[in-house]
């Protein structure tokens, strides 16, 4: 089945230690998104890729970076995680047409010690 896969499902890191979360998709969608969702909060868009074109949200901290080496994969790098970065990180995809739904992966829950 076509899907969005996120690994790992749970990630524990130490304060200040760089961490990378990964997302892959078999939907062949052009657009990939990264969201941060804290407990009982709305998913917050960090950035998205339209093909290789990177689009950063204005309020996304510089501590967050992303890479998309090919259509199928996208990575979220947190250069120096702080305690406030503990959250669920959701990857989503959509086609390149307007008014399209987004397909989400199961998420990676990040814990910062």
């Amino acid at each position: 089945d076509a899907m969005v896969i996120q690994n790992p499902r749970y990630q524990v890191t130490q304060f200040g230690k760089p961490v990378t979360l990964s997302c892959s998709q078999t939907l062949n969608h052009n657009v990939m998104y990264w969201y941060q969702q804290k407990s009982s909060q709305a998913p917050k868009l960090l950035f998205h890729y339209y093909d290789k074109d990177f689009n950063n949200e204005a309020d996304t901290p510089d501590n967050f970076q992303s890479r998309r080496p090919n259509t199928s994969f996208c990575f979220l790098d947190i250069r120096s995680p702080g305690l406030g970065d503990a959250a669920m990180y959701l990857c989503a995809t959509s086609t390149d047409s307007y008014q399209e739904t987004q397909y989400f992966g199961p998420g990676t829950r990040l814990l910062v010690l």
Binding site: V4, V31, S40, Q41, A42, P43, K44, L45, H48, Y50, N55, M88, L90, A92, S94, D96, S97, Y98, Q99, E100, T101, Q102, Y103, F104, G105, P106, G107, R109
Partner: protein, 113 residues
């Protein structure tokens, strides 16, 4: 900036009743609105999309309305079942051609047997 409010953090209803969830927004006129379901520890799953020129959309036991004058969407689940218990998120498209969405915090629905 755009603001979305889902006016109930939690809604408890009896099995078989109709659940009605509300999504209000300000400072924008979205071209469309979507509703997603999110189970604990999982990514959101798309349910319905309604466009600004549509008043109502139905899918099985689900119904969505969109009132652009009131800046409000209502989401109904008829003949609710315990399996419908989840958090329901509304999301507005806020611009661009890549389907960027802004999400509400969600309403946690609990359906009691």
């Amino acid at each position: 900036s755009q603001k979305i409010e889902q006016n109930s953090e939690a809604l408890n209803i009896q099995e078989g009743k109709t659940a009605t969830l509300t999504c209000n927004y300000t400072n924008y006129s979205p071209a469309y609105l979507q509703w997603y379901r999110q189970d604990p520890g999982r990514g959101p799953v798309f349910l319905l999309l309604i466009r600004e020129n549509e008043k109502e959309k139905r899918k099985e036991r689900l119904k969505v309305t969109f009132d652009t004058t009131l800046k409000q969407s209502l989401f109904h689940i008829t003949a609710s079942q315990p399996a419908d218990s989840a958090t329901y998120l509304c999301a507005l498209h806020y611009g661009g051609s890549q389907g960027n969405l802004i999400f509400g915090k969600g309403t946690k629905l609990s359906v009691k047997p």
